[in-house]
């Protein structure tokens, strides 16, 4: 058993795509800015190059067996946790993992989940532009993926190519957990919910956002807000982020 775990960790370290340094910057997320605010500061951090794979996750389970399917309690995962885990090759991204499980994995790796701001900041870049989110061709490519019917080999695809930061597959492979995925005060049509924020009244959700043209980001925020921290989905995975020590 120990030998298997050792072998696993060897294979993982050999195959892992590692992480890259994300420079500090400023970014205007689709939601969250107050009136008059142009962007939020994003401190420097590190981000995994690719989503966590099944091989990576198997190494975690070998060391943290309390997160095994059937062992992790229903207070932290739903009934579909890790279903179909072994049906795809070890190189495929791990899916059917809850927020709590993803967070435990990243903590085990010495990291954490990226915040939604960090994730969107990294995902706004393409191969040549740091923020392509307002560019029609960029949005079209992403929406093309969102609109594509699911196929069995979807999780074996490479995903979006290395962006200017060196991060891959932020689009075109899996949806990804973020540390504050639910931190959006969206609640259906607020006229029904008695919610006071006109930002989310049907139709005005788009006009109240920072970038009306970034419909792809709107889809991601909608997707995240549909989840609970126990949710697991066949095409929902994650990658980890890491704090960097501030320069003295």
């Amino acid at each position: 058993m120990r030998a298997i775990a050792l072998l696993c960790s060897f294979v993982v370290s050999a195959a892992s795509a590692g992480d890259v340094a994300m420079p500090a910057g400023r970014f205007a997320p689709l939601f969250g800015l107050d009136v008059g605010q142009q962007a939020f500061p994003v401190p420097a951090f590190k981000l995994d190059v690719r989503p966590v794979t099944r091989a990576d996750y198997a190494a975690f389970l070998a060391q943290q067996p309390s997160w095994a399917r059937g062992k992790a309690p229903r207070t932290v995962v739903d009934s579909q946790y890790l279903s179909g885990f072994g049906k795809l090759p070890p190189s495929a991204p791990v899916t059917q993992v809850s927020y709590f499980a993803a967070r435990a994995y990243c903590a085990w790796k010495g990291g954490r989940l990226p915040t939604t701001l960090e994730w969107e900041y990294a995902a706004a870049a393409d191969e040549t532009r740091a923020d392509a989110s307002r560019q029609a061709d960029f949005a079209e490519r992403i929406l093309g993926w969102y609109g594509k019917p699911n196929r069995p080999d979807d999780l074996l695809q490479p995903g979006s190519p290395k962006n200017v930061y060196g991060v891959e597959a932020l689009h075109g492979l899996v949806w990804e957990w973020t540390d504050d995925f639910n931190a959006l005060f969206v609640s259906g049509d607020n006229r029904q919910d008695g919610d006071k924020s006109a930002q989310f009244m049907c139709g005005s959700g788009a006009t109240g956002s920072a970038r009306r043209e970034d419909y792809a980001a709107f889809m991601r925020y909608a997707m995240r807000s549909s989840l609970t921290p126990r949710s697991t989905l066949p095409r929902l995975g994650f990658r980890c982020a890491y704090d960097v020590k501030e320069a003295p």
């Binding site: 969250g32 605010q37 939020f40 309690p73 709590f100 504050d180 959006l184 609970t228």
Partner: protein, 194 residues
């Protein structure tokens, strides 16, 4: 022995019944108002109300605090006093000195049933996620947008019911708090050493 097995089976059945919100499902660590380390495990075995505020909050938190005070009074009058656990959403700002000011501002100086917990951001995120309580901090203005919910937690850490700390009546919440049995030792009802 038989009853032990039965209760274990029942516990499993409850867990299989769907999403369960339990504040002890993942460990979290906190500091009490004076700065001493504490945990929610320490409250295991008692009923308590759990809510979230931050002391510099000018929006809904004053209303939450006032609602908790009314809840405290109502429960005491009904003969079922309850501990009120208030967790800070702003650990960097809510220092022990700020918490003293908060107690002063709301005339909570001698409110022995209240305990205010401060953790770090990761602890707050873990606990709020276990409760599906939403909050987000604007990194520039420091303003925290957040839900307004008071949770009733049972001795096992399960959330039994909850209410809005703003406009929802508290009758159902009060009714869900059990009356302490006269013979049982009155755990957690104002015996906190200060």
């Amino acid at each position: 022995m038989k009853s032990l097995i039965l209760s274990a089976l029942l516990a499993n059945a409850a867990a299989a019944g769907g999403d369960v919100k339990n504040v002890l499902a993942l460990p979290t660590s906190w500091r009490a108002e004076g700065g001493a380390a504490t945990s929610l495990e320490a409250l295991k075995g008692r009923w308590y109300a759990l809510s979230f505020i931050y002391t510099s909050c000018a929006g809904s938190c004053p209303l939450t605090t006032k609602k908790l005070k009314r809840l405290d009074d109502t429960l005491a009058q009904a003969g079922k006093p309850l501990e009120l656990v208030v967790v800070s959403l702003d650990p960097t700002h809510d220092t022990p000195a700020e918490l003293v000011k908060y107690r002063d501002r709301y005339a909570l100086k001698d409110a022995a049933r209240w305990r205010i917990l401060v953790g770090d951001d990761a602890q707050v995120r873990t606990l709020t996620m276990l409760l599906e309580f939403k909050y987000t901090k604007n990194p520039e203005s420091g303003v925290i947008a957040h839900d307004n919910t008071v949770f009733l937690v049972n001795p096992k850490g399960d959330v039994v019911t909850s209410m809005s700390s703003l406009d929802q009546p508290m009758e159902a919440f009060v009714a869900a708090v059990p009356t302490p049995k006269p013979s049982a030792p009155r755990k957690g009802t104002g015996t906190k050493a200060r």
